[in-house]
């Protein structure tokens, strides 16, 4: 059997059978499972296609597995507090964790703690990167969502604290989920909140584009890759599909009932906490507090399969299958460093711990970095990558 293109990764709060498991998106059969502990919600992430990171529920450490060695817990990263959400950048260079009100940013190549961002007033509930890793969006229980520019956050400038580039403050209740669309800094971001709305924003300007008001609080949100549809998981177990582009261009459709596009996926009996769409936009994965994960066909809105878990589903996501996942004898290209627990600028400067050099943008380049815009993050990433190779 050829290796699948995409896989489903899901975890629940009980962790009786496994911590997290990998399923076939088409049949729902289980491929692999990773054991040990359980994972809190929105804190399961795949790093660089080589590691799986999941924050332990209610504890202050992160479990790490090498993606091919499923039975063995590789490492535990101890953090300064309980991790409420976790996200690795798509390019695999950084890891972000929400720990209480603060966001911690680690560099993967050295394990250095680069920044502690405390701009939220309450627990951070969700963090997401844009697909080019240039920006990230964090949402908290203080009703705020913040858009950050990664390059301005990692700058080595102790005199000024990093500021978010935009503050999205139009939600009136805690933010439950965030989804970043494609297209890097030109992407659109959707935020879901308990105030019964889903709002769509532009990353580059921080402007709100759309606000949809529902009857129930919304616990999860996602786009399909083309951004034709917005899927919103309600707290009553329904999944609402909002079509973002009107298709009323053809004359024939005018007098038809408007049953296409705007529909509800019914089946869950409790909060829908996770949603994810496959890369071709035909399959929708949903995880719920009624302890099931369901796969839906977007076109027909039928449930294709469902898997019972033993506890509330905390994470369920469709990801492109990492190359190493099904090769038992593969090894990660880069060993995982020790994560430092403290901001230590002096150590970061010369990088004595790992014996390599660490390059970061200095304060002088900042003005430039803020003004030239689109291409700066790219440049920065390349710089970081060079660092990464220099270290090992």
């Amino acid at each position: 059997m050829s290796a699948p293109v995409e896989v489903v990764l899901s975890a629940d709060s009980a962790g009786q059978l496994f911590n997290c498991a990998v399923f076939d998106p088409h049949s729902g059969s289980e491929f692999l499972s990773y054991r040990g502990g359980n994972t809190s919600s929105r804190s399961l992430t795949v790093l660089n296609g080589e590691y799986i990171l999941g924050a332990q529920l209610g504890k202050n450490f992160i479990n790490v597995w090498e993606i091919q060695r499923k039975d063995q817990l590789q490492q535990k990263i101890v953090c300064p507090g309980i991790v409420t959400c976790l996200c690795a950048s798509p390019d695999g260079l950084y890891v972000l964790a929400g720990i209480a009100e603060a966001i911690y940013l680690w560099e993967m190549s050295t394990g250095n703690l680069l920044a502690i961002l405390s701009r939220h007033y309450q627990d951070v509930s969700c963090i997401r990167f844009t697909d080019d890793s240039s920006h990230f969006v964090s949402g908290g229980k203080d009703n705020l969502a913040l858009i950050w520019n990664l390059s301005s956050v990692v700058q080595l400038d102790s005199s000024r604290t990093p500021e978010p580039c935009h503050i999205l403050s139009r939600h009136s209740l805690p933010i439950t989920d965030i989804h970043c669309g494609l297209m890097g800094p030109q992407a659109r971001v959707a935020t879901a909140s308990l105030d019964q709305t889903v709002k769509v924003w532009e990353v580059s300007s921080g402007e709100m584009l759309l606000s949809v008001l529902f009857d129930v609080g919304i616990m999860s949100v996602t786009f399909d890759p083309c951004e034709y549809f917005l899927f919103c998981g309600g707290s009553d177990g329904n999944i609402f599909q909002v079509s973002l582009c009107s298709t009323s261009l053809s004359r024939d459709k005018t007098f038809q009932t408007d049953s296409d596009g705007n529909q509800v996926f019914k089946g869950h009996r409790n909060l829908v906490t996770c949603l994810s769409v496959s890369m071709d936009g035909t399959l929708l994965l949903s995880g719920s507090n009624d302890e099931t994960v369901r796969m839906w066909d977007v076109q027909s809105k039928q449930c294709i399969w469902s898997i019972n878990h033993k506890g509330h589903v905390t994470n369920a996501v469709i990801i492109p299958a990492p190359a190493n996942m099904f090769l038992a004898d593969s090894h990660p290209a880069v060993p995982l460093p020790r994560f430092s627990r403290h901001l230590n600028p002096s150590e970061q400067g010369d990088g004595t711990g790992s014996g390599g050099m660490c390059l970061r943008l200095g304060a002088s380049t900042q003005h430039f970095g803020l003004k030239t815009t689109d291409f700066k993050p790219l440049k920065c990433n390349r710089q970081q990558k060079r660092t990464h190779f220099a270290c090992f």
């Binding site: 209610g58 309450q122 805690p174 105030d195 580059s204 606000s211 949809v212 008001l213 707290s235 509330h312």
Partner: protein, 934 residues
């Protein structure tokens, strides 16, 4: 034969004329017995049916041609004539706009004063009639003539040019502000002249211009300068207001400084229901998708839009600097001269005459406007820094030396002597700037000076300390001396306070200034606008600056203010909903951010805010109610009495059902039983309280109310009988439906709790304990119980007998009620749904109900009712199987029924019942038979 002849003669009879007789009239004679009268037409008939096209026999072309006449009286007459003609017939203005405007504009520079005055009058009239967008093509011409007049060698013409400017500024500020490059130099030249490079008197070294004094003006040099500066001020104002909107726009009133985010993209707002029913088509991508918004920080190429065009030049800091570099030394010089003149008269420098005060006010206004001209924030900072470097010393020396200025009382006799001059002032139009309050002057000075204090540079703090200290003292005293300030002055003062706190970064200063504002805030009987201004200041100050500046975050005054908000909300009640809404706008984000002071105070006042009788949550309008419910999300703890209040709020019907469901969901989410909130250290809602809240909300009546119901005997009470074991208290339709919606939500929440068996056990105990003993039960309670129990019942769980008996009583009473309900289909449906759900999910319940039909005890009138109930149950297909399980019991009842019914004729109800019974029974048998065959 003869007869024939006679006849022929009759035809052509000759009339014999005789002398002395009148000649008979011929048949074709004309009757001339009429009189004619003349009709005078004073004017020609017109083809156009409105107004004259001529004025004194001159049409518009004649009048226009007369404007070139050499005689000024004729010119003036023609101008007056034009005005009268055009006002009689406004449609001609548009027709001849180009000709009229060009001719009139040419007269701006006429030698004769009366002609110019008439021209200005005509211009004023025309501008009133033509909107700005139609003048655009003629405007270059107008402004060229204006420039010509402003730079004219004759001073009288210069003066009148300012009047033209006034007219244009009033009506076409946008068009005029685009001509700033030319006009600004003109302004300069009105009061000064270019220094010759050769002359050695270049002592200031800054400006290339020197003030001019001409002796032959009708007004003094100072008054002349004041009039020019007034125009310059209003021109700059127009430039500031009319430029294309961009980020960080600050309006002149100062409140704009705190205005929240102002999106250039209008976002699409839809609600799910509208969307589903196809009313709201979402067009996100059409709305903003293809091109990123102008606010976007990412630009692939520089903007090349034509719209920004002209104004772009003035936006950059360099241009403003260039202009300011010339203007500011002049302004200083003007001030020095004016103040110098005053010093001669008085030795106390802080007292100014009204004239000097007006002059200074104008100078300060212009300085302020200069800073605002550049719209971008970063450019503003550059400009501030530049001003500071170039002019701080000058400003300090000239303006701050005698800082709090007062009005010099002009002695009586002096005024009399100057009567003539004052009259001239009136003529020159300086009265507008003539009466400036000292407070306005001082506040404006503060505003100007404070912008010079840079943010965040420690080394300059010491040198700024002296003059900033003076300003601080002034502000503190003005705010806290108990006087009432107008909202305009207050807004300016608050702007100064804001800036000072942000730039100075010291806790002492912060507390000092905030204390003063707080004193003002605490005054009683403030006007609503002032009160809301202060509120707005505090709340924006808290929300925007709180996080960035630790010295603000630690401010005690701010904490005290926040803590006082919930109390104010309670005290305000329903008296001023707008103010309450404003209070909530601060309370909500502060609570969401977990501000300790606010939360403590909120917790303390929670019971009065959420009081079901007169709390804010019931008396305020819907929007505020919604906010109050949302604030519950961040309340740290829910004690039992608060939950009791909230439960009553849900049920009294003073908040809408949708809001009540939102409230219930909030409580549900806050409880650890829900399993949403991951942090398990603090428990906002205890499990016991949670369940009792839900049970109370489910019943909708408190135990006292139920107890009170037992003793009343009202008309709405349906008496108990064998068929209705409970005496039913019929609630109003409205209350019933409201409660029905709430029950739905409660059931849904309880349904999603983890362990259903335990949950059901708790609810069962609660019902047995609180409801089973009752004799009188409201119908909505019955319906709620009947609806809730089957939804929560687990298959493996056996409900207790007491509960089942109570349920069967409820069910019977409801079925009985159902037959009496005619008025509302909605209520009927709801009641039937509840009964049906209960009977179909709990088979034992159906048996109990059937067992309780003791036919022998019934009186004759009740028999039809029983029969109707039975046929209702039999008719329902989904109940049929359960009915068949009790076939023997059913048969027994029907036998009894026919037996006890003594009537001779078979009534309709009996026929119906027997028909239903037979259909059910035999239909079932037939089914069984069919099944046997296969």
């Amino acid at each position: 034969m003869k007869a024939k002849k006679q006849k022929r003669q009759g035809d052509f009879q000759k009339v014999q004329l005789k002398v002395g007789k009148k000649k008979p009239k011929a048949d074709n004679a004309t009757n001339v017995n009429f009189r004619s009268k003349a009709i005078h037409l004073p004017e020609q008939l017109k083809h156009v049916d409105s107004g004259p096209t001529k004025h004194r026999q001159l049409d518009i072309m004649d009048l226009l041609s007369k404007l070139h006449h050499i005689n000024s009286n004729i010119k003036q007459g023609a101008l007056v004539g034009l005005r009268e003609l055009l006002s009689a017939q406004p449609s001609m203005i548009e027709l001849h706009a180009s000709a009229v405007l060009s001719e009139v504009a040419a007269l701006f520079t006429d030698k004769d004063g009366s002609v110019r005055a008439a021209a200005v009058r005509l211009l004023r009239f025309i501008t009133q009639c033509i909107p700005a967008e139609r003048v655009v093509p003629f405007f270059p011409l107008l402004s060229a003539h204006l420039t010509c007049a402003m730079t004219h060698i004759s001073e009288a013409i210069q003066e009148d040019a300012l009047r033209v400017l006034d007219v244009l500024l009033e009506h076409y500020p946008g068009l005029l502000s685009q001509r700033h490059t030319v006009l600004l130099t003109n302004f300069l030249e009105l009061i000064s002249q270019k220094r010759k490079a050769a002359t050695g008197q270049d002592k200031s070294g800054k400006g290339g211009f020197a003030l001019t004094i001409s002796t032959n003006r009708s007004v003094t040099a100072q008054q002349w300068r004041l009039t020019v500066l007034l125009r310059l001020g209003s021109f700059l104002q127009a430039v500031v207001e009319e430029r294309p909107l961009d980020e960080g726009v600050t309006s002149s009133i100062g409140l704009g400084m705190w205005a929240g985010e102002k999106g250039s993209v209008t976002s699409v707002d839809v609600s799910w229901e509208e969307h589903v029913f196809g009313k709201g088509r979402i067009q996100v991508f059409e709305n903003s998708g293809a091109v990123p918004t102008p606010h976007s920080a990412y630009r692939l190429r520089p903007d090349s839009k034509a719209g920004a065009g002209m104004n772009k030049e003035l936006c950059s800091a360099e241009t403003v600097q260039g202009f300011a570099g010339t203007l500011v030394p002049l302004l200083l010089e003007i001030w020095v001269e004016a103040a110098g003149g005053d010093h001669v008269q008085t030795d106390s420098g802080h007292l100014l005459s009204a004239e000097a005060m007006a002059l200074m006010f104008q100078i300060l206004t212009i300085l302020q406007l200069l800073r605002r001209v550049s719209p971008h924030r970063d450019q503003k900072d550059i400009l501030d820094a530049w001003f500071r470097n170039s002019y701080l010393a000058d400003f300090k020396h000239h303006f701050m030396k005698n800082f709090p200025y007062g009005l010099l009382e002009v002695a009586r006799h002096k005024k009399k002597a100057d009567g003539k001059r004052i009259r001239q002032q009136v003529a020159a139009g300086t009265v507008a700037g003539g009466n400036v309050e000292p407070l306005a002057l001082n506040v404006t000075l503060c505003q100007v000076m404070v912008t010079l204090s840079l943010r965040g540079q420690d080394h300059v703090e010491a040198e700024d300390a002296d003059w900033l200290g003076t300003i601080r003292v002034f502000i503190r005293e003005t705010l806290s001396n108990g006087g009432k300030l107008s909202s305009k002055h207050l807004a300016a003062l608050l702007e100064v306070v804001w800036r000072m706190i942000v730039t100075q970064r010291s806790r002492v200063v912060t507390d000092d200034l905030l204390q003063a504002v707080y004193v003002q805030y605490q005054q009683r009987n403030l006007a609503v606008s002032v009160r809301s201004l202060l509120l707005c200041f505090f709340s924006q100050f808290y929300i925007q600056e709180h996080q960035n500046h630790p010295h603000i975050a630690r401010s005690r005054i701010l904490a005290r203010w926040l803590a006082s908000l919930p109390v104010q909300l309670v005290q305000l009640g329903s008296r001023n909903p707008q103010l309450s809404a404003q209070l909530l706008e601060t309370i909500h984000p502060a609570a969401a951010r977990g501000n300790k002071d606010l939360l403590q105070s909120l917790q303390k006042n929670a019971c009065s805010i959420y009081d079901p009788q007169e709390g804010c949550v019931v008396v305020l309008p819907v929007e505020s109610q919604k906010r109050l419910v949302q604030i519950l999300h961040s309340l740290p703890a829910f004690p039992a009495e608060l939950l009791a209040c909230l439960s009553q709020v849900c049920n009294t019907g003073r908040v809408s059902a949708s809001l009540a469901t939102m409230l219930i969901r909030t409580i549900h989410l806050r409880s650890p039983l829900c399993g949403w909130s991951s942090s398990s250290q603090d428990v906002p809602v205890k499990d016991v309280d949670y369940l009792s809240f839900f049970f109370t909300t489910l019943t909708g009546f408190s135990s006292e109310m139920l107890q009170a119901l037992q003793d009343t005997d009202e008309d709405s009470l349906l008496p108990s009988s064998i068929l209705s074991p409970l005496s039913v208290f019929a609630t109003t339709l409205e209350q019933f439906l409201h409660h029905w919606d709430i029950v739905e939500e409660v059931c849904h929440c309880l349904d999603t709790l983890g362990s259903r068996a335990q949950c059901f056990d708790v609810i069962q105990n609660a019902i047995i304990k609180n409801l089973c003993g009752l004799v009188v039960v409201p119908d909505c309670v019955c319906a709620a119980i009947l609806r809730c129990v089957p939804r929560l019942l687990d298959v493996n769980f056996l409900p207790s007998d007491t509960l089942l008996h109570f349920l069967s009583d409820c069910c019977l009473s409801m079925l009985n009620l159902l037959l009496q309900l005619e008025q509302s289909a909605h209520k009927r449906d709801a009641v039937w749904e509840a009964c049906f759900a209960a009977l179909s999910t709990v088979p034992r319940l159906l048996r109990l109900v059937l067992q309780s039909f003791r036919v022998c005890d019934l009186c004759e009138e009740e028999l039809p009712v029983l029969a109707q109930i039975l046929s209702l149950l039999l008719q329902h297909t989904q109940l049929r199987n359960h009915m068949m399980a009790n076939a023997s019991l059913l048969q027994h009842i029907i036998q009894d029924l026919t037996h006890f019914y003594g009537g001779e004729t078979r009534e309709q109800w009996l026929t119906d019942l027997l028909y239903c019974y037979s259909v059910t029974l035999f239909g079932h048998r037939a089914n069984m038979g069919m099944r046997d065959i296969y």
